[in-house]
Amino acid sequence: MRVEHLSLTNFRNYARLELSLPQQPLVLHGANAQGKTSLLEALYYLAAARSPYTRQDRQLIHWRTEDDPLPYARLSAEFHNRRGRHQILEMALVLENGARFKKIIRLNHAEKRVMDVVGVLSVVLFLPQDLTLVEGSPSDRRAWMDATLSQVDAAYLEALDGLEKALPQRNALLRRIAERKAKPSELSYWDEQVAQFGAILIAQRQKFLRELEYLAQQQHHALSGARETLTLRYQPSFSPSATQEGQRAFEVFGLDLHRQLEPQDIAPQYLARLQEERDESILRGVTLSGPHRDELRLLINGRDCGLYGSRGQARTTVLALKLAELAWMERALGETPLLLLDEVIAELDAQRRAYLLGQLDGRAQTLLTTTELDIFEPSFLARAQVLHIREGQIVGA
């Protein structure tokens, strides 16, 4: 996938930007807080219809529009899709009723919903804080799985959206039951919703992780000189296949990724589990098991990398996962996503840096941000285009 043109209006610190993107790697150079990251954020926003940094769309709109009667921001990208068709993807944030921001999405000028534009434009974003993939909490890894799958699979995004609506309702009802304001029999509808959406998430995560593990192992082998083996262990908080006694064993070994389960097999079992733990759920006021509590563990030679790994091993693992993510999306979508590297190069040692840059050449359209140009090999800079950014403007090549 090649994005040829990016256009921004009132997005972050860009009052107005028209930028033609080159085929070769694009290095965005500038001091901090000048707008390098905002450019990557804009491309991510167009792909995922949300920011990787904030859930509040208000923050995305240029501060100078604050006094405007109708503040808005507009992003658009022009590119050719895998069939060679010219596409214009446009997203606008418009203030509605002076209170909420409405997101308007247009593909080739026709208005669309978020679900309709899944996979139209795809990106892999790599940030220094992605080290939390290894060292962070289970929720960091769930968020990563959700973000990756949602860019590719509209059914996944829909189920995620459904679960994010149904779970708070179910939890609120659990608390109302505890306060004797509602009857346990009212739970059945929400149980079914949670089970139905949850089953889709569990099945798709399992499939994703099986495919990803293979790709990540290849990258990891190459990076570690084949001395180490990375394995992914998916531990759904609820195991669709385990019996009561089997549950303990499963908690240690995780779900067998190679026995693919389908949502229609998982849903009835998950529903039964929700009903089994109903009393305890009412007592604690939360839904105890489900995709919102899943864990993904990353093992190196059988040992948990997050707990026992060195900093270096963690960096290698994250790099392998990110490159595997790119390869997975490439296979799933039939075209290579854009690769956005935010200050990542500076964090890598010379060997990993060379490996990463070597992997990219000519394959993915790549945008990199940096505060210092001399971290790049002169031969890389000779191939790349460099733009200098200051105060939301491109000040020269």
Partner: protein
């Protein structure tokens, strides 16, 4: 609000801002418009506001908003009392009425089940519906909105009424008229496929 603005003005601005869809700017604009407009306009408005609550009540049969009890629809002898359409809001009944085809009567729930907002079945007119759905009643059409809350409400009503031996139906969901199959999203298309009709 600045001290330069007299108290009656800020009072109206504040009152208007409390309305849905009206922000402080629109509220000020409306207030200053009324200040300059002929007295008759604000008199009409204040009378209309007073009458709104004073002269309306809920119909004791269907719980729609009405002046006379029972409401004109429930009192109409030509309406088929054996068919009840259950809707969330009075405006939904109005929408069904605009089709000009529905000859039955309504039952207005005044909301939908939403535990997050603290709305349970007891906060809606569901118990009243269960009491009403007996005797001559043959069919209850559940016409709640096609979202999660509307579905939860429909499921609850279904469970409460299923042993009464009535026909329980739900509004079909599917393709919009004038739509193009190619552009319909997969959920809508799936529902339309599941709810397909036998021809002829």
């Amino acid at each position: 609000m600045s001290k330069a603005i007299p108290e009656p003005v800020t009072r109206l601005i504040d009152a208007l801002s409390a309305l849905p869809g009206i922000g402080p700017k629109t509220a000020s604009r409306l207030t200053y418009f009324l200040l300059r407009a002929p007295d008759k306009l604000s008199q009409n408005l204040s009378e209309a506001l007073r009458d709104l609550k004073a002269r309306t009540r809920l119909c004791s049969v269907c719980y729609n908003i009405t002046v006379d009890d029972p409401c004109p629809i429930c009192a109409d002898e030509r309406r088929d009392k054996r068919t009840i359409a259950v809707v969330e809001e009075p405006l939904d009944a109005l929408a069904l009425e605009r089709t000009g085809v529905f000859q039955g009567v309504y039952h207005v729930l005044h909301g939908a089940i939403s535990p997050v907002q603290g709305i349970g079945p007891d906060d809606l007119k569901i118990r009243e519906l269960v009491q009403r759905a007996q005797g001559d009643v043959l069919e209850v059409i559940i016409a709640t909105n096609p979202g999660m809350e509307g579905d939860a409400t429909a499921m609850y009503i279904h469970r409460e009424l299923q042993r009464k031996g009535l026909k329980l139906t739900r509004l079909a969901r599917g393709l919009p008229t004038g739509g193009d199959l190619e552009y319909v999203d997969s959920v809508t298309l799936l529902r339309a496929l599941q709810g397909r009709n036998l021809m002829g």
